[in-house]
């Protein structure tokens, strides 16, 4: 049963316990590998390149083919016609098109690039056969580092392109140069942000089931974007969308990397049709580290021009992104390079801004979206600059932020990028977080040496914005043809009076079944217990964009509000007919419709549904009304909605070991009108954990030849329960004035705030040794070298 306080008037805003927990806690969830395999399922295993860059001269499949249980061994040449090389970008200024074959035909471009595959009767035999395929490679010079890949003599990743620069962009506001040059001070810094991996606990995988009668394929896959995958598969295979159904069942974590179309999905679909058999592929963790798109690996050259009073006058940033070997569908190569400058102003009101950005191909796994995209990186850069400026000017670090952030009487505010901030609480979040941490007390106890009990202690403050709920206008401004931007919801009252909703989203743990039910419950006057929310299946849910970039609450919330509104009018007409009243006088409440002011004149949703579906002994159809109780709606918000927060980290840095411990972590968070405070807090806690991992130990490492050095969970460290403190957390609510329901997204702010808060805290702790924090991660060896005086 759900908790719903007696006497409270709305479901939205309540800490409703999750509906999805019952099946997940009993082991009854259905993740891709749990979907029952049809008889005759072929298990697909991939042979992956051990070289970062090589010519493939020959592939000998004969021994593998002769192994008992092997049905087929497939090479790049075998599928070249079935799956033409796919390009994720379109011809437009600044972009070069990289093509990716589903399996390499003549060249491999990163360690893990697919060379051949086996289809076998079980997964063990499929892996055995992989070891029996013999490939003749000619290694080519490889480059993994983004700056080396920019050099004129660097190996070219795509020989049909003139260099490795897949994307160049930039912009400068009118009058920038004059303002920049006339400022009292200019600080420059180069920030290097580590490459990380999403490490969803469920690796990628898919099951493609061919329907001979329909000549169509159903693809079960752990994706964040079922509808986009369907469009992409149809596009690249040259099929009609009606031949592809994509179903995302329970998905074991997404975080960004699962919002892309991967070669294995195209291969499984195409081969299921070719072999007229179900085809299943489940990756292991090694494959996940090798091939599931990485993220970050950015270099930011930042210049901040500011005056003696600490006010920022102009900011210039040059962004370099290591894009990896290929561009990815559907976001393309522009995502990370452009998201940096887009998010750079954050909460600050400077009026002059210039940027350049580049996306560079290297012989590494592609990079793409991971929680926050570039926002955590640029927020770390800006907050790091704020701390430097404060120290230089002898200002308190809070005071310099106060002089630059947008104050509440300035909303709605249009920032230097013409990004609209409808509402927010930058000062309020900052003030409350300072109170919670007792900032004055902390400073009073802090000595210039910073060291107590062998540990340097410091505090870091980050004022954070989170760009959420992007709609069609944003994607079309970026010319992203395969991202529609809107989302959809379908609502129906079943003949038993209960509500079934389906949305265009798939869920990776966000709690859609609960939060969308809360919104609908308020709109229709029913209990969340009488609402079932589904999604993730292109056949049974309305078309839409999907689950990423903190879109669910805004787009999904808006879509169910719109569908509820249409359904409500229809319910009222049936109720009015049954009660012989006017629809305008009908009130929906507690699973009933009653006449305004006369509660005893009422009919239940059950009775209304029986009438609407013609399940009554006499005709109960209102004049002019159709049978049935359904509504379909889409929602496209008028603008992105900007959530905000203040994060404060208190760290202890062990002077002997260099180990950083986060001792306290405070967040005051504002995502507009909160649907479910329990779930929002947990989203932030989880985001902070991921940011803490990136700040302190996570790093995908390649050597100079492009060999992956961090390919297991023993080499790639994700935070454990011993690393992550429990947040001290409060909500502030500044409802959005631009979105239906007043909601703003909340999925990414935790990461966006924790990189700067932790980096600034370590910077504060190490002030006495003059350390300069300009790269991540802050692993013990790095921290020790900072303490020992190797200036950053």
């Amino acid at each position: 049963m759900s908790t719903h306080d007696e006497g409270s008037d709305t479901w939205v805003g309540k800490a409703v316990l999750r509906k999805e927990d019952q099946r997940l806690l009993r082991g009854f969830g259905t993740y891709v590998d749990d979907v029952p395999e049809p008889r005759g399922t072929l298990h697909l295993s991939m042979l992956r390149s051990p070289y970062a860059h090589a010519r493939v001269l020959s592939v000998d499949t004969s021994e593998a083919e002769s192994l008992d249980g092997v049905v087929a061994v497939v090479t790049g040449a075998d599928v070249a016609d079935l799956i033409p090389p796919f390009a994720a970008d379109y011809e437009r200024p600044g972009f070069k098109i990289s093509h990716r074959p589903a399996l390499a035909t003549d060249t491999v471009r990163f360690v893990g690039d697919g060379v051949a595959l086996v289809l076998a009767e079980n997964a063990y035999v499929a892996e055995d056969a992989i070891g029996l395929i013999y490939v003749e490679y000619v290694p080519l010079p490889a480059v993994a580092d983004v700056e080396e890949a920019l050099q004129p003599d660097a190996p070219r990743i795509h020989e049909d392109l003139e260099d490795n620069i897949l994307l160049t962009g930039g912009n400068k506001t009118d009058g920038f140069d004059a303002v920049f040059q006339s400022a009292d001070h200019v600080f420059r810094e180069r920030f290097r942000i580590n490459r990380v991996a999403g490490v969803a606990m469920e690796p990628r995988g898919c099951l493609a089931i061919y329907d001979k009668a329909e000549d169509a394929v159903t693809l079960w896959t752990g994706t964040q974007v079922p509808h986009m995958l369907r469009v992409g598969i149809a596009r690249y295979l040259g099929w009609s969308e009606s031949q592809v159904r994509v179903v995302a069942p329970d998905v074991g974590g997404g975080f960004g990397p699962k919002m892309y179309l991967y070669p294995e999905e195209l291969l499984a679909v195409a081969l299921a049709r070719q072999y007229r058999s179900p085809v299943k592929w489940i990756e292991d963790r090694l494959e996940d580290f090798l091939t599931t798109y990485h993220a970050r690996d950015h270099v930011y050259d930042v210049e901040v021009a500011f005056n003696d009073d600490g006010t920022v006058q102009a900011v210039n940033v040059d962004v370099l992104v290591n894009s990896g070997a290929y561009s990815n569908y559907p976001m393309g190569v522009g995502l990370e390079p452009f998201q940096g400058p887009l998010n750079m102003p954050g909460p600050y009101r400077f009026r002059q801004f210039a940027f350049t950005c580049k996306g560079i191909a290297t012989n590494t796994c592609s990079t793409g979206a991971f929680r926050g995209v570039s926002a955590p990186c640029v927020t770390m850069a800006m907050e790091g600059m704020m701390d430097r400026m404060a120290r230089h000017l002898g200002l308190d670090r809070v005071e310099i932020r106060r002089r630059n952030i947008i104050h509440s009487d300035e909303f709605p505010y249009l920032n230097v990028n013409n990004q609209r901030y409808d509402t927010g609480s930058y000062v309020e979040c900052l003030d409350r977080a300072l109170e919670m941490v007792d900032y004055e007390g902390y400073l009073a106890a802090q000595t210039p040496e910073r060291i107590i009990d062998g540990k340097y202690r410091g505090i870091g403050i980050a004022v954070v914005t989170e760009l959420t709920g992007q709609g069609a206008a944003r994607y079309k401004a970026r010319n992203l043809s395969d991202l529609p931007g809107f989302d959809g919801a379908h609502l129906a009252i079943e003949p038993n009076g209960q509500v079934i909703a389906s949305t265009s989203f798939s869920s990776q743990g966000q709690g859609h079944e609960t939060v969308f039910a809360q919104v609908i419950a308020d709109e229709l006057g029913v209990s969340v217990d009488d609402i079932t929310v589904r999604g993730g299946d292109t056949q049974n849910s309305p078309f839409g964009t999907g689950t990423f970039a903190s879109r669910g609450a805004v787009l999904g919330g808006g879509a169910v509000i719109r569908a509820s509104g249409d359904l409500r009018e229809k319910i009222k007409k049936f109720a009015a007919h049954l009660l012989e009243a006017s629809p305008d006088d009908i009130v929906l409440e507690g699973g009933h419709a009653h006449v305004q002011g006369v509660r005893e004149m009422r009919v239940s949703f059950y009775e209304i549904a029986r009438a609407a579906y013609g399940l009554t002994d006499s005709m109960q159809l209102p004049e002019g009304e159709d049978f049935g109780l359904e509504a379909l709606a889409t929602y496209d918000p008028p603008a992105s909605s900007i959530a905000n927060a203040c994060h404060i980290a208190c760290v202890a840095v062990d002077a002997a070991t260099g180990i950083v411990e986060v001792e306290r972590y405070i967040v005051v968070h504002d995502c507009g009108r909160v649907i479910n405070p329990l779930l929002v807090e947990s989203q932030v806690q989880g985001g902070v954990a991921q940011g803490l991992g990136q700040a302190l130990f996570e790093e995908v490492l390649y050597d100079a030849e492009g060999q992956l050095l961090s390919a297991t969970l023993m080499d790639y460290m994700v935070p454990t329960a011993c690393d992550v403190p429990t947040l001290e957390f409060e909500h502030i609510e500044s409802p959005s004035s631009d979105t239906l329901g007043g909601f703003k997204g909340a999925g990414e702010g935790g990461v966006i705030g924790s990189l700067p808060a932790i980096a600034c805290a370590v910077g504060d702790a190490l002030v006495p040794v003059g350390a300069n924090i300009n790269r991540l991660p802050l692993r013990p060896d790095t921290v020790l070298s900072l303490i020992e005086g190797a200036d950053g």
């Binding site: 993740y31 989880g686 935070p719």
Partner: protein
Amino acid sequence: MSTARREVRVTVNGRAYSRSVEPRMLLADFVRHECGLTGTHVGCAHGVCGACTVVLDGVSARSCLTFAIQADGKEITTVEGLAEGDSLNALQQAFHENHALQCGYCTPGFLMSLTEFLRETPDPDEAQIRERLSGNLCRCTGYANIVRAVQAAAQRLREEGRT
């Protein structure tokens, strides 16, 4: 390698299973594909993440690092064996009430590891809980609510005199 099949007889959640399997078959695959109990998940297949944890003769074990034939003659409990009839058990209920799961993929492994832990450590402090949890990885929750859930479950079990 020898692929000669061997007989494996186990009891899983109180039900007997007898299957003929290759010696190299992992216990995780046996439980999932031979017994059809797909609540046990494989997250890394190299013994780090703990998602595949089951209880083997009362002791927690990584089923991705255990061969099915090693479990021959033993009693196995998986996540499907925890609920008491239609009701979640105290630990599962505490996970629900404290929102200690998001995507739910790692959750069965946590529940099985903690089943053993709470039997051995009925009154744990937070440091002991975190130390134990560090053998399982969760990428969604940031662990705070899992810690709260373990504290709540331990208290409930003590009050009910079940530990």
